[in-house]
Amino acid sequence: MKKRFSKTKYIPILLILPAIVMLFLLIIFPLIWSFFTSLKRMTLLDLMLHKGKYIGFQNYVNIFKDSLFWNSLKNAFIFVALSVIGQVGFGLLLASILHDKSIKGPGIFRAIFLIPWIISSVVAAYSWTYIFDANLGFLPALAYNNPILKFLGFERKDWLTNPSIVIYILVVINIWKGTAFSILMQSAGLQSIPDSLYESSEVDGATTLQKFVFITLPLLMPFILINLIITTMITFNVYDLILLITGGGPNHASEVLSLYIYNRGFSWGDLGYAASLSLVLLIVNLTVTVLYLVFLRSRETS
């Protein structure tokens, strides 16, 4: 049997080929172009006049002196770390509850929980803006005459304008949008755990918490890690939501790195600099992923 498979040596490559060709032409090739742009002093005007000059790694040197870059990197780490913890954490919690056999109608709940994920960022941005906006917002209006909400502090209007709050509000919105994906992944993990394991532990009189910590969590670890990796990768590149809600403001307080790239490239017109920033983001993202993978591998071998 084994022979049969190895004889058809070209088949595995043939099957992968269409995907590789498409990915190369439509992702890798533009990325290489982007790398060459990052070595140029190139603005929107230079682009039009075909005057981009090669300046070596000057753009990369400038990044380290750019306080807005460090600010956006800091914001990116806050945004990604909290979003990922929230999405995976809530995903795990909700998936565990839905997995419990004593819960009725898990399908309906799952369908409702998936809705934020199928809403486009544009629509999500409009609706959240008009929930939080200081002047026209639904939440401030709701809290005007409601003592309970007032007591809970919902009357405040600076949700999106207070520099020390705004990033956390965006995290909440991003958790709202992305948790569905984690719920699905964690449900998958939970289903892979055989029921017999729980049954035997129940005989031993284990509590829910004990069962979770000693059975569920270790077996779920690969799923959690993959979920962490994918969510981290995606979240580092989230910017349309923030662009449409706050534009990065006030005064850059909610400008994450991916949004800074967009603003630098398309609003300021610094295309070369934006290209070098995006490669830095790629490296940051790659580093975080490699750390995860090293962790994943070391667990698998142990």
């Binding site: 498979f5 269409p18 982007s34 199928i118 629509v123 449900s187 289903q191």
Partner: protein, 279 residues
């Protein structure tokens, strides 16, 4: 007695968590629907009149009678459908290969494909523009279908690989004994068994392509307008927002996709969770 009481509080707590997450999930939709049902002048007073029962369907009528809007919506569906079909057909071939065969660089290729997820869109927009400009494909269906299908492909490959791993290899081997070639085994045995996984991938890819905004507005947006780009056109020349109209348009855009999801989400969940992602 103690035991069952404890269990009951646990269940109540569980339902409370589910209900509050449900409310959280639906809250923006609710506020959007509320705005969409308000007459325009509800926003003439301060604070805006969110709570009186003055409701109207005018905004929905205006939006649904707008032939442009219907066209934008049709474009989005067409593009998302074709993009997801391409993504899943190409992606599941690769996924099958990763699941069934061992070859050099396999692990490297898999990680590499996953890593493509992290390339910032902003960095490849301008090269895209140049490439497709040279090919004279800007502002066409083709460009959006191609780019959208590639955007979801890495994840689809991983998803399908995971799904093929759950299908017992013995079935294909039996087919091979019967004299089928490897590819034929794929078509005859693995392919039909993988249907739920493919359905899940199609839905995933469809949702992503359907909701794309940045690509749709950069590489097209003049002759081929998708609904996300169309939404931003409910603003006037001074960037003024017609809030009630935008909300009605957003909400009406959601209804078909939510219905579709409600019908198919079972397969989606089965596909996603059945195959899952096995590292």
């Amino acid at each position: 007695m103690m035991h069952s009481k404890k269990k009951r509080t646990k269940i109540i707590l569980a339902y409370a968590v589910l209900a509050s997450w449900g409310i959280f999930s639906l809250f923006p939709l609710f506020s959007m629907l509320l705005i969409a049902l308000k007459p325009k002048n509800a926003f003439m007073s301060f604070p805006p009149d969110y709570f009186s029962i003055r409701l109207t369907l005018d905004n929905f009528m205006t939006v649904l009678k707008d032939p442009n809007w219907i066209g934008y919506y049709g474009n989005s569906i067409l593009i998302a459908l074709l993009a997801s079909l391409i993504s899943v057909s190409v992606g599941s071939l690769a996924g099958f290969s990763f699941a069934r065969y061992n070859f050099r660089m396999k692990w490297f290729l898999m990680v590499f494909i996953l890593a493509l997820q992290m390339i910032p869109t902003a960095s490849i927009i301008i090269p895209f523009y140049n490439m497709f400009g040279d090919l004279r494909l800007l502002d066409t269906y083709t460009v959006l279908i191609l780019v959208d299908s590639v955007g979801t492909m890495p994840f689809v490959i991983w998803l399908m690989r995971g799904y093929f791993l759950t299908i017992p290899r013995e079935l294909e081997e039996a087919a091979l004994i019967d004299g089928c070639s490897g590819l034929k085994a794929f078509w005859k045995i693995a392919f039909p068994l993988a249907a739920p996984g493919m359905a899940a991938s199609v839905i995933y890819a469809f949702v992503r392509a359907f909701n794309d905004y940045i690509i749709a507005r950069t590489l097209a947006g003049s002759k081929i307008v998708t609904y996300t780009v169309g939404l931003t056109m409910f603003t006037n020349q001074y960037e003024g927002i017609n809030l009630t109209l935008i909300s009605a348009a957003s909400f009406s855009a959601l209804i078909p996709i939510v219905i579709m999801f409600a019908l198919f989400h079972k397969y989606f969940v089965i596909g996603m969770t059945g195959g899952a992602l096995k590292g």
